[in-house]
Assembly symmetry: C2
Homo-oligomer: 209 residues x 2
Amino acid sequence: MPIDLSVYLVTDRPLCLGRDILDIVREAVQAGVTIVQIREKETPTRDFVALGHAIKAITKTHGVPLLINDRIDVAMAIDADGVHIGQSDMNYADARRLLGYDKIIGLSIDTERQLHEAQSMDVNYLGVGPVFPTQTKKDTSGDWGLEGFKNARSISSHKLVAIGGIDTHNAADVIRSGADGVAVVSAICSAPSPALAVTALVRAIRNQQ
Amino acid sequence: MPIDLSVYLVTDRPLCLGRDILDIVREAVQAGVTIVQIREKETPTRDFVALGHAIKAITKTHGVPLLINDRIDVAMAIDADGVHIGQSDMNYADARRLLGYDKIIGLSIDTERQLHEAQSMDVNYLGVGPVFPTQTKKDTSGDWGLEGFKNARSISSHKLVAIGGIDTHNAADVIRSGADGVAVVSAICSAPSPALAVTALVRAIRNQQ
């Protein structure tokens, strides 16, 4: 079954501004998010697994795939739909070997060189970013911009999810530049109303598809 | 095959005092360490996997089992001999389900209550500590002492590895108190000569067994 990457939520608990992450995910999924990735960098494994089960109970009800960032053990423990791995995480070949082909694997792409390298990998999608400057991830070297993203689109044969500084105002531009979906963190997690933010994102994206 | 837990090295890179962890593991294994656990709390997954492969190349040559602390995905990626999990790591049932019965699983025990809970688990061994005060792990509530360890021994039917503040001077006491092995971190990693430290530990332990 093809994966709908169009409105892609990446969770970030500090960016939830004290609100319960489960409430935000529930609102976001009800409002039209098509895929969810849980990103937890400091959480002990036992708590990460518990959070994964709790979020999966929400996403499963809505038929939305759930991915785990980096932690393949956590993904396996909760039988998530897949993982998202970055360039410092387990390499793609090992991840695929452990998870098999029934699971989704997405890979972060920071540079054009990595984009070329990924051409030989049967990943399910690439996350390309940051497209715009962002406060959420600071360990990157410059941003792609819309022209850079169009160039990435012309190089890669994979599905591409754009990430980094995307919100309701620029999401349509990103889709017009060739993205199969937009991944957002703060634009949903920190929104006064996550539901309204998702509704606006969905509208902006659907109009361009 | 029974596992020889008697001289159990837990690695800690900061405690290697700037020396290469691979050199220290090699020296320690050559001098008689019987099992090695890699503990890396801050290392990105890709680097952890690479370190795991490098250490496995050493331990395998000497027929010494290699365990990974917490990260079941890393253990699976490098086909380690097993994992060691703590009370904040993945729960035992999930870990066993992912790893199967061909792999070793050890579990940290901090309290007498956990010791009783573990009676129903078919873990390969328990790590009980801290036996003595230690600087290596500060997130614990008091230490067991030798009398406490003897009490643990009387409660548990599992193999018990003692950990926490153990060195060449007190290792024999710990074995006499019923430990199947002593786990050491700084007593090897920070020793002026890890090889001599291991030799002294081996001698102290063998004399009591």
